[in-house]
Symmetry: C2
Subunit: 308 residues, 2 copies
């Protein structure tokens, strides 16, 4: 007779965004069951933690949840389970993992939101089956995630994969937010860069979305502005191909909606910048999971905490 | 009674350079015993292979050598054991590993020369005890090597770590050799860049070495030229710190002789470009093994082949 232990088989994944908290119950295959969401309170750390507590509480099933996983838009110290800084949230130098573990008595995994999205695309999305994958998330900023030798790479304390902060123009224009750098991918090839081009071309109220729509409708100047952003993205991707020799570069985030208007020029410059044989082996593809990637990735990070 | 098998405990490491072949017998701790060297014949592939065969043959000890390891200045396809391209050698699209395995009947490891140097610095040099180390080799070109999560990282086919070919100036000046890229670290922060500055400042026969000597002797213009190269190096290192969150960045190669004339400005710009907490955790240090790094690394790659 074989004794089979009945063990909880699901986790709760929480995608903590700057505007909303999206959470759900997931199985090991990344399938999402019950979900809940609410507006992110940014008034204070206490309010934010209370909202997270309620969110998790809503989804908890007695005996059914094995772990929690969180995707957080900020810099994480994995060793200490600490949020160092999260520019759009009232969380700084906060021992997040310890707090959650104490509150719920469950293993807690946490990661940067862009890492979580990369893990999701790798496990069940565009990067399924690869062992070497780089993901760029193009939004207001540019996030990054790395799968190297078949596992997520996080660096010495968990702060790796800040791919939006690679320099593609030495001494170039200042970066965004807390970053003191210059000429970073984030300032030159993000939705923010497209928004700036939109305002210059289409007027003070135009957005990155308008620029993409105009280009799709045949506006040559709009297409050219997006192509220039794509070419800069291509310099960044070329660097990453030379560094990682990845099988795949996955492009996600809201600004990825620009599609081949940005990706074709990016591919062209990547081919100029990258060396053989890495150049011919890599594919640059759009993400497939859309806005659910963060939630799925957070859940998978929860399973990682359970298994470690 | 315990049977103890007597097994060979040493490997032969071969540092195949564009001008000389340096080879030696090594133990697992990276200690080098007997050595031999000869000029690299570049007249033909056959001549080069004959020289390698003689070099290894000289060091072979019947029953005493367990494997061979080679460091090669070119792009390697690890999966196929193939040299794709080696700009300064008559080796292209050559199935090097298979050839050597057949010739000597021993396991054969091979790697890019910069990877080999990084492995050596990690195992017994400046990076001893670290798990996340980036190495840059500044010479005529700029090579790179990566130790990630406690092991060498080579990418999907072994072409990773081409850190000299990261873009730090989008649409910048053309790169060197077979590379079609623009504004790469290799063209802006190498010994070649210093040689160019030397000729502009000190006359048509001046070298990078002269520029360093002049700066050390108090020539402000020479020091300023080196500082500018160091600042560009700092943009590259800043990118690498944001990507990898490494404990250590090791700077080796002939041009590293410029020391803090280059490294201090590099550290300053790195601190501007890199995010917290990675920025404060990383150290930028000179390599310690000097010209022996390639030989030691080649030997350690031989042990890797033996153990795999």
């Amino acid at each position: 007779m074989v004794a089979v232990a009945v063990e909880p088989t699901h986790v709760i994944g929480v995608d903590l965004g700057g505007t909303k908290i999206l959470a759900g119950v997931l199985d090991r295959e990344g399938r999402v069951g019950r979900q809940t969401q609410r507006t992110t309170p940014v008034s204070s750390t206490a309010d934010l933690l209370a909202a997270l507590e309620e969110t998790v509480g809503e989804l908890l099933e007695p005996g059914g949840i094995a772990a929690l996983g969180f995707g957080i838009p900020g810099t994480i110290d994995q060793g200490r389970g600490r949020v160092e800084v999260a520019p759009n949230l009232p969380l700084a130098e906060f021992d997040f993992r310890e707090w959650m573990e104490k509150r719920f008595g469950l293993p807690v995994g946490m990661d940067n939101d862009a890492n979580a999205a990369a893990i999701a695309e790798w496990a069940i999305g565009a990067g399924r089956g690869t062992r070497h994958m780089v993901m760029l998330t193009l939004g207001t900023g540019v996030g990054g995630g790395l799968i190297l030798d078949g596992r997520p790479y996080r660096g010495s304390v968990g702060a790796a994969g800040e791919l939006g902060h690679i320099v593609i123009q030495h001494d170039g224009p200042p970066c965004q937010g807390v970053c003191t750098g210059r000429g970073h991918l984030e300032s030159l090839a993000s939705g923010t860069a497209a928004g700036k081009a939109a305002r210059e071309l289409l007027g003070p109220d135009a957005s990155a979305h308008d620029l993409v729509r105009e280009a799709q409708a045949g506006n040559a100047a709009a297409a050219s502005a997006l192509a220039e952003i794509g070419r800069k993205l291509g310099s960044g991707i070329g660097s990453l191909v030379n560094i990682f020799n990845p099988e795949l570069v996955v492009i996600g985030g809201g600004f990825a909606a620009a599609g081949d208007l940005v990706l074709d020029p990016a591919r062209e410059v990547m081919r100029r910048e990258a060396l053989q044989p890495a150049r011919d082996l890599v594919r640059i593809v759009p993400a497939v999971l859309g806005s659910e990637a963060g939630l799925v990735g957070a859940g998978l990070v929860g399973f990682e905490a359970l298994d470690s």
